[in-house]
Structures are given as structure tokens and as C-alpha cells.
């Protein structure tokens, strides 16, 4: 029972000025089952954001076919993309037009990301870590049938990133949302995903598809994550060790 089905035969960006035409995605096919969390792991610049833009329908210029589940879509972008001139509460209300119990849902969502009191604060006043949590709350508050996350914890300090990953792990387990998370960070993929799609450098192809044999509790232990990452991704040993240092 596939909730999301992706076939990208070719995605290229046309030549602009001196820059030549660029083939970014090539022959990429995969499915995500309902309730499953899949991570797309690949080096920076390989086409991960491009892939999410295709799936979200923001970019329709490609050869292939993408089928999304019925229901609402949610996207946590690489940058939080909040409305700085609106309060946190109004930022969430912005995506809840016509929802009768909006206020209650906003309260619940802010509680889930452990920011129960920031409702009346302007989004411009948030730290990056808080803004990322609000972006996550905005995504969850719509009760999406498909959640897309684009390197949601990039450029945070390590302890904050770890805390937010734990939070996301819990929320994904609780809501069983069908989720596609894109990252260049192997440990993040191992920790959060049921399955990892390993991409090559651009033009991105599917290099491997790996099931992650970890239980919910095991995913909360850094040592277990580290061990599985090394076992699953032997050729990535160096970068992992380097990041752990």
C-alpha cells in the first residue's frame, strides 16, 4: 500500500547564461508506504531539495510521475520560512483556514514541540532552534497525509540538534505520519528512518536501499545509532567518525 510513489526519469535545469544545462536527478524510483518514515541520504548538492520540490508540486518541469496521497501536504523547509511579522500563533493559524478547532489544535501542536508559551511572540524574535520547532509545529498542525522535511536540523549546535531529533522521533512515532526526510547526515537518517534511500552525487541515482533494524528505544541511544550507521554505510565511516569527533 504505497502512499507516495515517485518516478523521476530525468530532472534537469536548463542552461542559464554561461552555466550549462545540468542533469540533477536521473532514473530515481521509489515508494513510501503509509505510516512509513523514509530518509533520502545524499551528499550536499546532489539534488535532495530539488527532489522535494518536485514531490511538493513546487516544480513541475520534469520527466516522470509522482503520486501523492490524498489529504494535506506539509513541508518543513531547509530554512524555517515563518512569517516574521506575525506571531507564532498566527503563523500556525495561517495554514488552518476553515478548520473549526484551530485554536485548540494550535495549542496542542505548540505543546508537542515544547513551546507552549510562545504563541503571542512575533516569529522574528525566535532563535533558530525555536523557529525550527515552530516550523515543525506548523507542519504537524495540519495533520498531513504526507510530511516532507528538508534537512530540518541543519546549522544547529549538536546538543540542540540532538534534542530536536529526539522530539521528531517521538512525534513521528505518535502520529504515524507518512514522512520523507532528506538529509546529508547519516546518523540523522539512521535515527529517524525505517528505510534509507542512498543517493549518489549529482546526477542523483539510487545507490542502495537500506532497512534500519532499530526499535524506538534503541533509536534514542547515540551508541546504537553510531553502530548501525557504521554497519549499514561502511563507505561513510570516515565522515561519521569525523562528525562524532
Amino acid at each position: 500500500m504505497a502512499a507516495l510513489s515517485v518516478v523521476v526519469v530525468r530532472k534537469r535545469f536548463p542552461a542559464v547564461g554561461a552555466a550549462p544545462e545540468k542533469l540533477v536527478l536521473h532514473d530515481l524510483r521509489f515508494r513510501v508506504a503509509a505510516g512509513e518514515t523514509v530518509a533520502v541520504l545524499g551528499p550536499s548538492g546532489c539534488g535532495k531539495t530539488t527532489l522535494l520540490n518536485l514531490i511538493a508540486g513546487l516544480d513541475r518541469e520534469f520527466e516522470g510521475r509522482i503520486e501523492r496521497p490524498a489529504g494535506r501536504l506539509a513541508f518543513v523547509f531547509q530554512e524555517p520560512r515563518l512569517l516574521p511579522w506575525r506571531t507564532v500563533e498566527d503563523n500556525l493559524r495561517f495554514v488552518l483556514d476553515g478548520v473549526p478547532d484551530a485554536s485548540a489544535r494550535i495549542r496542542t501542536a505548540l505543546g508537542e514541540v515544547e513551546l507552549p508559551e510562545v504563541g503571542p511572540v512575533y516569529a522574528s524574535r525566535l532563535s533558530l532552534g525555536m523557529a525550527r520547532r515552530v516550523a515543525l509545529a506548523r507542519a504537524l498542525v495540519v495533520r498531513p497525509s504526507l510530511l516532507l522535511l528538508d534537512e530540518p536540523f541543519v546549522s544547529l549546535d549538536q546538543p540542540t540538534a540532538w534534542r530536536l531529533r529526539l522530539l521528531l522521533l517521538e512525534l513521528l512515532a505518535r502520529h504515524r505520519t507518512t514522512t520523507l526526510i532528506v538529509t546529508h547526515e547519516p546518523r540523522e537518517a539512521v535515527m529517524l528512518a525505517d528505510r534509507i534511500l542512498l543517493l549518489s552525487a549529482a546526477p542523483a541515482r539510487l545507490r542502495a536501499e537500506l532497512a534500519v533494524p532499530l526499535s524506538f528505544d534503541e533509536r534514542r541511544e547515540q551508541a546504537r545509532i553510531e553502530a548501525v550507521a557504521r554497519a549499514l554505510l561502511p563507505d561513510l565511516r570516515e565522515p561519521i567518525a569525523a562528525e562524532a569527533a
Partner: protein
């Protein structure tokens, strides 16, 4: 970032509001400079008038004040201020509405931008006097011609400002709204207008300053009332005190609009910034 999010958020809000309160409460000697400079200007004016000793051609501040009071008691001042203010208001609103529509269309659509640019250049460089004369010739010496002439002078400036605003709209936020299927009216209210507001305000402020000066010229050339008409009449009598009386009175009105209208509005619009 503190590890306990809720706490740091409330701390932040508290810090922001107490800082604002402290700023408004604390006495700053620098604030006295502006009133002081007004007094110095008036003093220089009075001293020059005393030295020249020619009250008809260079009246003292006291004489001008007297002229203001005389015109006010005669009921003339308010009537003419009223006429001018009305023309300013109509021309201003017309120019803001049409200029904003043109500017936003140019800022959002490259074809309209390319097509409209030469027109904009033409009208930006067209002398105000030419527009006024042509409007009076083609539309007749009436109220419509007067207001249209003023508006035409201001529209290109508004269009240029709002075009910049429309070009600077953040594409990433539109994408966010699209992904979350947010209806157009909410996108307009929460994404487009907040970003255009500073440009509207800038256009409005510079617009008011320009429009009222042109309205005086329009009145001088072809209206039987208004501040410009009164200045013209006083000019023919070489009555400098009355010229200055009307000029100062209207400048005061414009300054009042700035203080009571634009400044509070600007503060409101800026509230969300750090």
C-alpha cells in the same frame, strides 16, 4: 539558545517590553535639540527682520503671526486651508491607488515592466508645470483638471517605489503558502501586504510632501481659492506677511499629518522587528 524553550521565549518577550518602556521613560537631553533648533531659526529670523527694518518686504515672526490671526478671524484661513487640503487628499489618494497598481503590476510581471519603463521615464521627467498647463487646456479650468494634474505628477514616483517593493517580495514564503494550500486572500493579507507596507508608507510620506507643493502651483495658475490662490493674491500686493502666514499655516497642517498619522502608523508597522 537556552535548552528550555518556553522559559527563554517569555524572558525574551519580557525583555523586549521592559526595554521599550525604559526607552520611553528615560530622559534624554538630545531630545531638546529639535525644539532648540526651531527657536534658533525663529531668533535668526527676528534678528534679520530687526536689522533690515523693512516690515513690508521682510516681516518679523510677530507680524506673520498677526497676519495668521487676522486671516483666521476673518474666516479666510480655514476656508482656503480646507480647499487646499481637499485637493491634496483627492490627488494623493488617486496617485497612491493608481501608482501602486501600476508599480505592483510592473514589479510582478516582467512583460509589463519592460513595456512600462519608457512611459515611467517619460512621466518622471515631465515638468510639473507642463502637466498642469496641459491639463487646464485640455480639461478646462476646473477642479477635475487641477486634481488630475497633481495626481499625474505623483503617480510615477509611487509606481517606482511600489515596483521595488513588489520585486522584493519573498518567493520562499509564496512557496510555503502554496505547499500548505493557503487561500489567496490570506496570502495577500499575511504575506503580500506586510511586505509592501513599508513601501506604501515611504511613497505616502514623500507623496504628501510633493503633492501639497504642486497643489499650490495648480491653485496659483487656475483656481479661485485655496492657499496657492491666496499666496498669489498677496504676491500681487507685495504682502509678504500674508504669503508667509498661509505657507506656515499649511506647513503646520502637513506636519500634523506626519505626527498624528504617519509616525504612529510607522511604529505600528515596525513593531514586529527586533
Amino acid at each position: 539558545m537556552g535548552l528550555s524553550g518556553p522559559l527563554s521565549a517569555t524572558e525574551l518577550a519580557a525583555a523586549a517590553s521592559s526595554a521599550a518602556a525604559a526607552r520611553s521613560r528615560r530622559f534624554e537631553p538630545r531630545r531638546l535639540l529639535a525644539p532648540l533648533s526651531v527657536l534658533v531659526l525663529a531668533g535668526l529670523w527676528a534678528a534679520t527682520a530687526w536689522l533690515l527694518d523693512s516690515p513690508r518686504l521682510f516681516p518679523s515672526p510677530a507680524l506673520v503671526l498677526e497676519a495668521i490671526l487676522r486671516e483666521f478671524r476673518a474666516g479666510e484661513l480655514l476656508i482656503h486651508l480646507g480647499w487646499t487640503l481637499m485637493r491634496v487628499a483627492v490627488a494623493f489618494l488617486l496617485a497612491m491607488a493608481i501608482g501602486a497598481a501600476i508599480g505592483i503590476a510592473m514589479g510582478r510581471m516582467a512583460l509589463i515592466d519592460d513595456f512600462g519603463r519608457p512611459w515611467l521615464l517619460f512621466f518622471l521627467n515631465l515638468p510639473a508645470l507642463v502637466t498642469i498647463v496641459l491639463c487646464y487646456i485640455w480639461l478646462g479650468l476646473g477642479e477635475v483638471a487641477a486634481v488630475v494634474a497633481v495626481a499625474i505628477n505623483k503617480i510615477p514616483n509611487v509606481a517606482v517605489t511600489l515596483r521595488e517593493g513588489a520585486k522584493a517580495l519573498d518567493q520562499a514564503l509564496f512557496e510555503m503558502a502554496q505547499v500548505f494550500a493557503v487561500p489567496k486572500r490570506l496570502v495577500l493579507e499575511h504575506i503580500v501586504l506586510p511586505q509592501l507596507a513599508p513601501y506604501f508608507l515611504a511613497a505616502a510620506r514623500s507623496g504628501l510632501a510633493l503633492v501639497w507643493k504642486i497643489v499650490l502651483v495648480v491653485e496659483l495658475l487656475g483656481r479661485p481659492n485655496g492657499v496657492g490662490f491666496q499666496i498669489h493674491s498677496a504676491f500681487q500686493l507685495f504682502d509678504v506677511a500674508t504669503v508667509l502666514a498661509y505657507a506656515l499655516a499649511f506647513m503646520a497642517v502637513v506636519q500634523l499629518i506626519e505626527w498624528a498619522g504617519f509616525q504612529p502608523l510607522a511604529r505600528r508597522l515596525e513593531r514586529w522587528r527586533r
